[in-house]
């Protein structure tokens, strides 16, 4: 067994060691917050480089075939690492004192957990990774120890535990049916032993992942938690750990439970339609910007869930010539669209939450209203021009206006829905996108059209660097989407029979 054999997993290994190291160093050194921030950022950059060096690797199995490194896992690992890195960079302006070591260590552990999930092809490893990420984020959600934090973390924890219970029950049924924990084995077995128990297993699994993905009706923790947790943690939750739910669902549902294709096609058609509609409707009346972003996240999850419906409808369909890209399978295009939207949403949401973090910690000081209240955003363009401009672009991107990452993801995804005959769903999604402009434009109008409520404020370096990097990435993907579309197509191919 050579060391280099595990080269594709060095990224995870590095981050695990680093996380332990951060905890140890933190307890030994005083005032090490700044150092820990830089250390974590460096570690994440190194891990990103390691993952990027194997970007479109052929599927390779490790540890008794429980871990698979493939284009899909690498795609998600890049998403997770980028989100964590941006959050760490922004956090370096906020968490500098006591306890910073714990904060960064938890963040790194959560990242490792998400990376493990993205590579899992076995339900036990998947569950372990899932819980590692969940437990770390439960703690992070309460990190500032304010009353609101604690309430948010508590709700998140209770809801998460229930969801985990459902998921674990579903897994146990799958194991009972297949006699194996490998997804490939379950896939074979579910073709033979199809029965009511498998349907129950499927639905329980959907609940477990649906909680992370924040699909209606499993979403109810999300607005409260995103609003109550420290803003930068909300960024991690909305942009990072939410996507973990998607990769887990992709692997378990599309690969292991392909025999129940018609069932999950039905289920996700309902879930997607309800999720995007309710998410957008609920966002219209919120006055708390983080709550708006939370509901917008829910709506986006509804869009992304369209991929499941598309795969259900067009599974194994003949390639058609779409988007002038040559013959392409609609199901592959659907997953690719979802992946692009996941990537885009991860960036846009991280950026938007970092923006709220900056507003909450600087702009809203002395204001009597809630720090995230939309009234604090009045005249932000004058008070914090860089933040306001970045937020402006993120809002446009979230609404899906070109040329941004948000537009590309939606365009590919909705096209795939049309190509697989799901015109009604595409129309509903587009109507929803139009509806979403109501609350995005509302934030923009506060930032740019209202009179400033106070003097100009200092925009801290960490926040600004993270915001501008995110902005560049969002626009870059929107202007040069070709490479990203190809990458997403390759990652999507992992999930489908060739």
């Amino acid at each position: 067994m050579e060391f280099s054999h595990y080269a594709p997993l060095w990224g995870e290994a590095l981050l695990t060691i680093l996380a332990v190291l951060v905890v140890l160093l933190g307890s030994l050194m005083k005032n090490s917050g700044k150092l820990m921030g830089y250390l974590s950022a460096a570690g994440l950059v190194a891990a990103l480089a390691l993952v990027a060096s194997n970007l479109t690797i052929k599927p390779t199995l490790f540890f008794f075939d429980t871990i698979s490194v493939d284009a899909l896992s690498q795609f998600f690992k890049v998403v997770f690492l980028v989100v964590s890195l941006l959050v760490v960079i922004a956090s370096m302006s906020k968490y500098t004192g006591k306890g910073a070591d714990e904060y960064f260590a938890l963040l790194l552990f959560a990242t490792v957990g998400m990376m493990v999930v993205s590579s899992s092809v076995d339900i036990i490893t998947l569950f372990v990774g899932f819980e590692l990420a969940s437990l770390s984020t439960y703690a992070l959600a309460a990190f500032d120890r304010s009353r609101k934090n604690l309430e948010a973390a508590m709700k998140y924890f209770i809801f998460g535990s229930v969801a985990s219970a459902f998921m674990l029950f579903g897994f146990s049924l799958l194991y009972g049916m297949a006699g194996s924990t490998h997804l490939a084995d379950i896939a074979v077995a579910s073709l033979d032993n199809f029965g009511p128990a498998t349907l129950v297993a499927l639905l329980f699994v959907i609940v477990g992942f649906g909680f992370k993905m924040a699909l209606v009706p499993f979403h109810m923790w999300a607005p409260d938690t995103y609003e109550g947790a420290p803003p930068l943690v909300s960024a991690l939750l909305a942009a990072g750990s939410k996507k973990m739910g998607f990769v887990a669902a992709f692997r378990v549902i599309l690969i292991a439970l392909v025999a129940l294709r018609m069932e999950w096609y039905m289920a996700f058609a309902m879930l997607a339609a309800v999720t995007m509609t309710l998410g957008n409707l609920a966002a219209c009346w919120q006055n708390n910007v983080r709550r708006i972003l939370a509901y917008s996240s829910i709506a986006q999850a509804g869009y992304i869930a369209i991929a499941f419906v598309v795969v259900g409808a067009a599974y194994g369909a003949m390639p058609v010539n779409v988007l002038n890209m040559g013959p392409i399978r609609a199901d592959q295009l659907g997953i690719a669209g979802a992946l692009l939207l996941i990537l885009g949403h991860a960036l846009m949401k991280t950026g938007a939450f970092i923006g709220t973090a900056l507003v909450a910690s600087n702009v809203s000081k002395g204001s009597e209203t809630d720090p995230d209240d939309i009234s604090n955003y009045a005249g932000l363009a004058k008070r914090a021009p860089i933040t306001a401009f970045c937020m402006l672009i993120f809002m446009f991107a979230l609404a899906g206006i070109p040329p941004t990452a948000g537009y590309i993801g939606k365009f590919v995804l909705f096209s795939s829905a049309i190509y697989s005959g799901l015109v009604w769903l595409a129309v509903l999604a587009i109507l929803n996108s139009a509806l979403s402009l109501v609350y995005y434009l509302r934030i923009i109008s506060y930032m740019y059209l209202k009179e400033a409520a106070g003097p100009k404020i200092k925009e801290q370096k960490g926040y600004v660097v993270a915001l501008v990097l995110t902005l560049l990435a969002v626009v870059w993907i929107g202007v040069f989407p070709e490479a990203f579309i190809n990458w997403a197509m390759q990652a999507a191919a992992v999930l489908l029979p060739q």
Partner: protein, 681 residues
Amino acid sequence: MYADYAYLIVALPVLAFLLCLFLGWHLPRGGGFITVLATFGALIVSLGIFSETYPSEIVHQSMPWFANFNVGILIDPLALVMLLMVSFVVTLIHIYGNGYMNGDPGAARYFAEAALFSAAMLGLVYADNLLQLFIFWELVGLCSYLLIGFWYRKPSAAAAAKKAFLTTRVGDVLFLAGIILLYNNLANLNLALKPGEYLLQFPVIYAHISQIAPDQLTLIALGLLGGAVGKSGQFPLHVWLPDAMEGPTTVSAMIHAATMVTAGVYLVARMFPLFYAAPHGLTAVAAVGAFTALFAATMGLTSFDIKRVLAFSTVSQLGFMMAGLGVGAAVGAVAVGVSMFHLIGHSFFKSLLFLCAGSVIHAVNTNDLREMGGVGKYMKWTMYTMLIGSLSLAGFPLFTGFFSKDEIIVIAYEYGTLINFLPYIFLVLAAVLTAIYTFRMWFSVFTGKERSNYAHHESPWVMLGPLVILAVFAFGFGWAAQDDFYSYLDSTFEDIDFVELSVIGGHAMLEGEHGAPAAEGEHGAVAAEGGHGAAAEGEAGGEEAHGEPWYIQILPIFVAIGGILLAGLFYWDKIKKFDPSQVTGEKDPIRKLLLKGYYQHEIMTGWFAETVVYGTALICNTIDIKLVDGWLNWLSALVLGFAQHVRKVQTGIVQNYVTALVLGVVVLVVVITLAKEVGLV
């Protein structure tokens, strides 16, 4: 070697734009020197590429953008002459601008916008595909809007900017429609494109014109022509151009005389094979061009605002260029060379004239010809450089405008013998009027008595320098370049089979270019010289046997000199014989018609806009508010009302949340099971 740096032609002005925008406030004169250096850099690179590629090489670079669009650079002779002209003229105008804008509090903004404009115009010229061209085209339009409204506190400037923006928008919509139509037609051909080829690239378009249905070609051509009409101020979308003179004079020179307005002509030249293949495509171009040439010239006769005279003259000369392209139906691709020659020459003498006008205005502080007079005593340099510009514009023998404009008239005659004489007649009349209004202006400004009190000083050298350089070109470019110019530009389209296209376009009487077999004996002489001959020799002196009778060839000389003399009789105090106000009384209907600009304002704004459009708008508005909005408001009230209820589901109590989760599972189980029972899935 220089070709590797072709991207700098756009990148440098963009950099200058950013520098001036963000740092200009801290720099002397608003950072104008940065803009000058940037466009000068673009000029150097263009010259380098010219020296490398002359006479017939083509630079083509491209990289994928997304789907089947690319970003690319195409520098062929047609693009290169434009690049050279634009970067050269713009550099001189920026130098001049350093003097002209000195002291203006918005100088930094001016130079930033001017740099962005330069970048956009240069990018437009060497785009290798229609989409990219359109993007720069819009950017150019935006810069034009910003610069016309540069003094945005002045209501008339703000209004003029809006007018320009909206009017050109009409054309741009047609242009976009043309692009979409072209794209659809090309996409439907299911072409097997080689790697690196993209649908909207010009070489790809050229190669597949013959496969598109003729009626589609005509529609596309009309769409593109719509864009060109808007941008190049052709009738009926010319109304914005005279008003655009509200901007600083440098802007008028740079954008509304020398460069941007030529974009429309350039577009038609660039897509010439398509226009040629489209039945009636070039007829429309010729009709629009010839009519505009005469129409605008008549209005130039009566205007008292020196800049407006020049603006009408620009519209008229652009009409000449358009007509020059349009009559290509008879002479083939050589028309592109003829028209482009006039375009380049015009940009020299028209920017010269504008800058001279700016110099005069700088001293006299008014635009009104009636308040000038005798300025020549104090501004010798301005007077003589403007004289050169005016002679060139009027088409006085041996000046640039003589060679270029009269070449258009000659090929219009050929068009006449083959197809229709109307364009020829219109152009000759316009040429007479050109000479008259040009010298009416020159005499009124520089000769005679002082008609108001103004400062007696010449402009600074930073302004006069560009005038002198431009004057050299306005004088010498014509005879220095004409022979090589035509043969050089001819190589742009040498790979295209115009005979095949002429069949589609229905040019039955065409002799084709490059000496294709003549259809009829009588026109054999014209035909034999086909491409190069007819154009190149038209004014070369006519030593050789030629298709046109001798009187056609020397007519332009008399036209120019006669026009100038006529203007002198009215406006030059030395030989003055008539008083203009007595020859045509105040009540003379023709004079009134011209002064009122054919009542365009009354018709277009007063009647068409305010009655027809506004009336229609009122009706639509009522329908919109009552029916569409009413319905939408009802819908949005419904949605938002529903949304309020949705919000209330979120109680904040975690027990309720878990209940919802469990309920969700139950609903899913029930629905899926029922659906299976019913057989839905």
